[in-house]
């Protein structure tokens, strides 16, 4: 039986008191225990940013990669060993700025992993520049006259890219956050969870109070059908993305299931190997 103790590290996170990322950390650890995943069977891959440090606070096989490349790395891990439970996490700059390309392609590729973005609409680690999700007009260190650009919409981006599981959560509601992470981890395929995770130090606009006041809970909304893609697009428009809950879920083949027969059946993660004569002949036959 996995316990919370297994997942805890004796390291104090270097996050500011009140940072939304604490809740995400706690939620991931609790869900892993709830799902009874042993620490050695979890691979937790993160990007660079305040949020990216999260993998170092969990005891599992964890990797803190490069700015924007967490998803690329995490897909490699899962493809190599499908028995692992793979979680990937990072910030809004990491996932929707420098790493946006991988986000779109991971979504359509549908490798079975859970991608959690701690979206604080700001660059936290570099001390407060605007991010791709900062609202237009928001003043930051790199937009002193207000952000001149329109923000990206990660949910519509995920929908358009073919993500098979899309949800949004809020660090201020740990119960729902946990529930969505749990559903994401149980989903077979690429599961994307965007978490409003306030930066209490550099984002004075999108605060806990702001989210508490404005968020609608989709999970409690009558008549909403998360298997309906058109409805999902509409819901994002209607609410201006200010909602939490499961937006969209679809069952479809993962990449491994779509690859040619035999793919991934002998990844040699631990064994050694030598070509036998039959396989050797097969290998060289086209060159003799």
């Amino acid at each position: 039986m996995a316990t919370l103790k297994d997942y805890r590290m004796d390291i104090k996170p270097n996050w500011c008191p009140g940072c939304g990322d604490f809740s995400v950390l706690a939620a991931i650890q609790k869900v892993a225990v709830n799902l009874n995943i042993e620490a050695e069977d979890m691979a937790f891959i993160s990007g660079i940013g305040c949020s990216g440090r999260i993998s170092g606070y969990v005891n599992a096989y964890t990797m803190h990669t490069m700015h924007g490349r967490a998803l690329a790395t995490a897909q490699g891990v899962k493809l190599a060993n499908p028995d692992l439970h793979v979680i990937c996490a990072g910030g809004d700059g990491d996932g929707f700025g420098i790493g946006l390309n991988h986000f779109a392609h991971a979504a359509r590729r549908n490798v079975d992993l859970t991608y959690i973005v701690m979206d604080n609409q700001i660059y936290g680690l570099t001390k407060g520049q605007m991010s791709p999700t900062s609202p237009q007009g928001m003043e930051t260190k790199s937009s002193p006259g207000g952000n001149p650009e329109q923000p990206i919409n990660p949910l519509q981006m995920a929908l358009a890219s073919g993500s098979s599981f899309i949800a949004q959560a809020f660090s201020g509601d740990v119960k729902q956050l946990m529930s969505l992470i749990e559903q994401g981890m149980q989903h077979k395929g690429f599961a994307f969870i965007n978490v409003f995770s306030p930066c209490v130090t550099f984002n004075k606009v999108l605060t806990y109070e702001y989210f508490k006041k404005n968020l609608v809970n989709l999970d409690e909304k009558e008549g909403y059908d998360p298997s309906n893609r058109a409805m999902a697009f509409n819901m994002v428009e209607e609410t201006g993305s200010m909602f939490t809950g499961l937006l969209y879920k679809q069952e479809r083949k993962t990449l491994t299931e779509s690859l040619p027969k035999g793919s991934g059946t002998n990844m040699l993660t631990r064994d050694t190997f030598i070509l036998d004569d039959i396989m050797k002949e097969k290998l060289i036959s086209r060159y003799v």
Partner: protein
């Protein structure tokens, strides 16, 4: 006669490639040693391409000959490109439908120039597209090979397209064959010395075979000339061996995917060229910092930027040596023959796991795309050494909550666990870290970690770190990669004229085999470093490691064309 060079050229799409494939298949089966290079000339309108095949009855060859004995021209460009490169008493066959004999002014006087109706004969069989089969028939007749073997290969090749197509192609072949027989044309026949079974393949194909035999089971790549073939070939065959190949969205992803797969324990690689190497640099640094094995093939091509994408260059050496910010351990192996390209993959994956760092295969365009006859794959040369893996039993004894993945040890190499192993959990981060992998800025730890990482590779050797041939008392010629063939033949020509020449071809470029090279340099009167780049990247590296700078002369070439043995002879004469 011991050898023969056949060139066939035309516009792309005229079936030049098929001629090469059929011809080489037959000749390889007969036991000849072959070297084939396909030249794409983007300078000439119409997309000219030609295939240059050197056939040797005995010894192995590693470079094209400087002169052709038989030239088949479907287009004018073939004549223009090769008219100065014809051997004595050569034969030139041209198609008057597409080549104008009025432009033949400066062809060699002793050449036998024959108008051959390739297109006409093909049309008589039903389709002008088969003029390449007519050409094969003519080559077969001229060289007095038995038509049987050619017909078998042609049948094989077209059998999927149905009996009708097979018959048409055979007929075209026969028409070509009859044409030269009726005219009484023939050259002196070649007879192979042995009939031993051989492989005939390109460097790219050799590296693919090598990767599979080495136990690589994950590859991610992004298309780029001339490395795409590696991705395409691996995608075809990897599933048969239980592995996975992914075409990623870019090189940033492909290299990161490989690192992820390697973290999970699989032998993983990527293959790229020029611009892709630039994009991968940050990830190379991560692999070095987190001590995760990684194998990268760089089939170097003309740079910088988009450069000369289909042309030869060896100008990524400094990028491979120094690319990425900060300092990391890395290993660079440079194959110089197709056979080495195959076995180097085994070496690369073993070293990557033993030393837990990135390993580059410094290939180049000519090595990647030219084809050579090579001995049959010897699987015994691929014993997997997975490095310092910790067993589950040992982990159970230790029962550590967090495994010391980056433990300081005597040889600086830390025992490694992989996901799934109980009591092996740890953190891998590009941030400076302590023994468990968790971040620390402590100066004492920092210094120790840097020294551990940087010095762990000092003991690396691939056995023959420098390939030495001949006694280089007068002239020592140094190079790396596919220039080996040209250098080797230059040495032979020096020796034939009484000059004591030898070569030192670098097979391990990093860590640099300085001591051995210093000794070789000190014993030679003259040292020439031959390389395909502008600044003499290899020569500059050598100067960092070898005392006697004045002796070292750079012979560089960066116009996209290949070194010929005569370039080296001429350069050396100018020096004296």
């Amino acid at each position: 006669m011991e050898e023969l060079t056949i060139v066939i050229g035309g516009e792309q799409g005229e079936g030049i490639e098929s001629v090469g494939e059929i011809l080489t298949k037959v000749l390889s089966q007969k036991g000849f040693n072959l070297y084939g290079f396909r030249n794409f000339s983007s300078r000439i309108k119409g997309g000219h391409s030609d295939f240059n095949l050197r056939v040797s009855s005995g010894r192995e060859i590693y470079v094209n000959a400087e002169r052709a004995n038989l030239l088949i021209a479907f287009d004018q460009a073939t004549i223009d490109l090769y008219k100065d490169q014809m051997a004595a008493n050569s034969i030139i066959l041209y198609d008057s439908k597409s080549v104008n004999p009025n432009n033949f002014a400066d062809l060699p006087e002793d050449a036998l120039i024959i108008e051959a109706p390739f297109q006409q004969l093909a049309l008589e069989c039903g389709n002008s597209i088969m003029k390449n089969m007519v050409a094969i028939g003519m080559i077969c007749g001229l060289n007095q090979h038995s038509p049987m073997e050619f017909k078998d290969v042609i049948k094989d090749r077209f059998s999927k397209k149905g009996i009708k197509i097979v018959e048409m192609n055979i007929e075209a072949f026969e028409k070509g064959h009859d044409f030269v027989k009726e005219k009484g044309l023939y050259s002196i026949p070649l007879v192979p010395v042995t009939d031993s079974r051989k492989m005939f393949l390109s460097g790219n194909e050799a590296m693919v075979i090598g990767a599979v035999a080495a136990g690589c089971r994950f590859m991610a790549g992004y298309p780029i000339t001339p490395a795409s073939e590696i991705l395409e070939n691996l995608i075809k065959i990897m599933p048969e061996y239980g592995g996975i190949v992914v075409q990623a969205e870019d090189e940033l992803c492909s290299v990161a995917m490989a690192i992820g797969a390697s973290f999970a324990g699989t032998r993983a690689m990527t293959a790229t060229s020029g611009p892709g190497v630039s994009l991968m640099q940050e990830a190379v640094g991560l692999s070095g910092a987190v001590e995760i094995p990684l194998v990268i093939i760089d089939t170097q091509r003309g740079g910088p930027s988009s450069g000369l994408a289909t042309k030869m260059e060896q100008s990524d050496l400094t990028a491979m040596l120094g690319g990425t910010h900060g300092e990391i351990p890395r290993i660079i192996i440079s194959p110089s023959t197709i056979q080495e390209a195959m076995y180097d993959m085994g070496t690369a994956f073993n070293l990557a796991e033993q030393y837990q760092c990135p390993v580059f295969i410094a290939a180049d365009l000519v090595l990647a795309t030219s084809k050579q006859s090579t001995e049959i794959l010897d699987t015994r040369k691929f014993e997997m050494d997975r490095g310092k893996r910790v067993t589950d039993e040992d982990l159970l004894l230790q029962e550590a909550k967090v495994f010391d993945r980056f433990a300081f040890t005597e040889d600086y190499i830390s025992p490694r666990t992989i996901p799934g192993q109980k009591y092996g959990t740890h953190h891998a981060t590009g941030i400076e870290h302590g023994e468990t992998g968790h971040p620390t800025e402590d100066p004492i730890n920092r210094k120790k970690m840097m020294i551990k990482r940087m010095e762990k590779i000092n003991s690396v050797t691939i056995g023959e770190d420098i390939k030495v041939e001949g006694v280089a008392e007068d002239i020592l010629i140094i190079g790396f990669g596919s220039t080996y063939g040209a250098i080797k033949e230059a040495c032979e020509q020096f020796q034939a004229s009484g000059i004591k020449a030898g070569l030192a071809h670098l097979r391990l470029l990093h860590p640099f085999p300085a001591k051995q090279l210093e000794r070789l340099v000190s014993m030679a009167r003259q040292v020439i470093v031959v390389e395909n780049n502008y600044s003499g990247q290899l020569a500059n590296v050598i100067k960092q490691h070898v005392q006697d700078h004045a002796k070292i002369q750079k012979l560089t070439k960066f116009d996209g064309t290949l070194f010929k043995p005569s370039d080296i002879l001429t350069f050396s004469k100018e020096l004296v």
